[in-house]
């Protein structure tokens, strides 16, 4: 395929993916908005007013970046995992396999689709948060960079999950048993300075802690961890995950007999 054809193929796939999650918006865009509104009301307003300040910010302002990031992570991941697995399940993945599209375009199309939903939901949650707190972005480039990279990383993760999955249950295991606990323990609702030394050490091996804190740094200008290192680590994870996903796709893992 020449570069123009590759671009057309990639665009086709991205448009198809975006059309999919916007067509079923009551399942994809509405629930996270409602869930996050509940978080803002209950944790931010009702409980937060009694918690007081955290790192010099109101509790509401402190948890907003974490909740945005939580939405981006879960939506990027689950979009690609469910979409690609549905394609496998309905065998419509064969449409792509019989075409001359290179594997990296297929992977790229799904990842960009997942990122679109993750970032779209992130934007909706951000807009909802404006009803509860003022949001001033201290470092726009860091904010955009971190959220985009995080969406990319978890979209690729969702793709790998879908390749390995044999049944629909297999695509909900990671979000429920891995992503949700890591996100909750990743400093969304608290600063790790509040933890005893041992648990601070344990928290440092949680990759989501770095993303949440780097994003919080972008918005509030405060972080529990060095932001530069976090950005490099996320970038390296993206490269490694992309390479693994591409290798699996090239070998037809889970899709070719």
């Amino acid at each position: 395929m020449n570069p123009r054809q590759i671009l057309i193929a990639l665009w086709t796939l991205v448009v198809k993916e975006v059309r999919r999650f916007t067509r079923i918006w009551p399942q994809t865009l509405l629930p996270p908005s409602i869930t996050m509104t509940m978080y803002f009301i209950i944790f931010g307003n009702l409980i937060g007013s009694r918690v007081g300040e955290m790192d010099g910010f109101s509790y509401m302002a402190y948890i907003v970046p974490g909740l945005i990031m939580m939405s981006v992570i879960t939506n990027s991941y689950s979009n690609v995992a469910s979409s690609f697995f549905s394609n496998k399940f309905q065998r419509s993945v064969e449409e792509m396999m019989v075409s001359p599209m290179p594997s990296w375009v297929i992977l790229g199309g799904f990842v960009l689709g997942g990122m679109s939903r993750g970032l779209g939901v992130g934007l909706i949650v951000t807009l909802v948060s404006l009803f509860f707190t003022d949001l001033t972005i201290h470092h726009p480039l860091v904010t955009i960079g971190v959220v985009t990279m995080t969406a990319a990383l978890f979209s690729i993760g969702g793709f790998i999950n879908a390749l390995l999955a044999n049944k629909f249950d297999d695509i909900s295991i990671v979000p429920i048993f891995v992503l949700t606990p890591l996100t909750y323990l990743g400093g969304v609702f608290y600063s790790i300075d509040m933890l005893p030394d041992f648990w601070q050490g344990v928290s440092m091996v949680n990759p989501i802690l770095y993303m949440v804190n780097a994003f919080r740094y972008g918005i509030l200008g405060v972080s529990d961890i060095p932001v530069g290192g976090a950005l490099v680590a996320v970038a390296l994870f993206i490269v490694a995950f992309f390479a693994v996903a591409l290798w699996m796709l090239e070998r037809g893992k889970g899709i070719r007999s």
Partner: protein, 322 residues
């Protein structure tokens, strides 16, 4: 000699569970041909086509599509290929038109180029009125036609149809045959067809290969194959019922129903002679037809013969091992 549309050499497939699906088959399909690949279930047809379409990974062997080795440049070879699989393999929730346009996009066709092509195909295949509805609302026959439209959108030179008329009513089947004949004749599209309706293969195809137990047991033209048919059986409908089968010298006759006879005609025998003798006995034939499709009779005899040989060989092996 022109490059074959599809050339297969020594194609072997062993699945993970050790099942030897293909045992080094060779096959050439000439350009512009209408070719049937026949075989019983599990014979290796779908595995062969799956490898050609990149849905199945081969264990060994070579496959070339219009002279392009799939191991060297599969992407380029895929431009020549359109595939209509056995099972529905599109998203049931997408709009009919979107499914065809997306496929065009996967081949790098711009929307400006794809839209008129898509419209033409949907009109030709009677799906234009359904273009804005979700694919799940289509009937089974319409879904099959949708897969044909999708497979043709990028103008492939080689179209693979894996049981395209399975479960399709006779009227629709005939209209699909007519459409396939037209694209084969007018656009020069090479068509490879697998089917369990042998009448379909006999009616449409010029050349044929029969595959069984992962091996090609016959590869010839339909015309030549039919000359191998030693005996044909005709059902004769009589004007009046008969109590028992008449004796017709030189022919085998059996009474099927009160007013129907089955007449076996061996190679070289004349129907006229049978009619003459029936007429002499005061029996008038009002209509006649083949008891079974001619190709079907040959197919069954070949596959049964091959299966018997395979069973014998297996028994021999077991005996040698014990």
């Amino acid at each position: 000699m022109t490059t074959p549309a599809l050339s297969i050499r020594g194609l072997t497939k062993v699945y993970g569970n050790g099942f030897h699906a293909l045992k080094g088959i060779d096959l050439d399909v000439p350009q512009g041909d209408f070719f049937a690949l026949l075989g019983p279930n599990g014979a290796g047809k779908s595995t062969t086509l799956g490898i050609v379409c990149s849905l199945v990974q081969k264990t060994a062997g070579e496959v070339s599509i219009y002279g392009i080795d799939i191991d060297r440049d599969f992407a380029k070879a895929k431009y020549h290929l359109g595939v209509v699989p056995q099972e529905f393999n599109f998203s049931q929730f997408e709009k009919v038109e979107d499914i065809v346009l997306a496929q065009a996009g996967y081949y790098g066709m711009s929307l400006r180029e794809a839209r008129p092509r898509c419209a033409q195909l949907l009109k030709d295949l009677g799906l234009w009125d359904k273009r804005n509805g979700p694919a799940r609302m289509l009937s089974g026959g319409m879904k099959r036609r949708l897969m044909i439209a999708r497979a043709l959108v990028h103008r492939p030179r080689l179209l693979i149809l894996d049981e395209p008329t399975a479960g399709v009513d006779i009227e629709l089947r005939r209209s699909m045959w007519e459409y396939m004949r037209r694209i084969n004749r007018e656009e020069g599209t090479t068509i490879i067809l697998t089917t369990h309706y042998l009448e379909e293969a006999e009616s449409l195809c010029r050349n044929i290969a029969i595959i069984n137990h992962g091996e090609i047991v016959k590869n010839t033209s339909v015309r030549e194959l039919l000359t191998e048919l030693d005996t044909e059986t005709f059902l004769l409908d009589l004007a009046e019922p008969v109590d028992r089968a008449p004796v017709i010298e030189g022919f085998e006759v059996e009474r099927v129903e009160r007013a129907q006879l089955a007449l076996s005609l061996r190679k070289g025998q004349q129907l006229n002679e049978a009619f003459r003798q029936l007429s002499e006995q005061g029996m008038n034939v009002v209509s006649m037809r083949n008891r079974a499709n001619r190709l079907e009779e040959l197919f069954v005899s070949m596959v049964e013969g091959d299966n018997a040989r395979a069973r014998q060989a297996e028994a021999g092996n077991k005996e040698a091992q014990s």
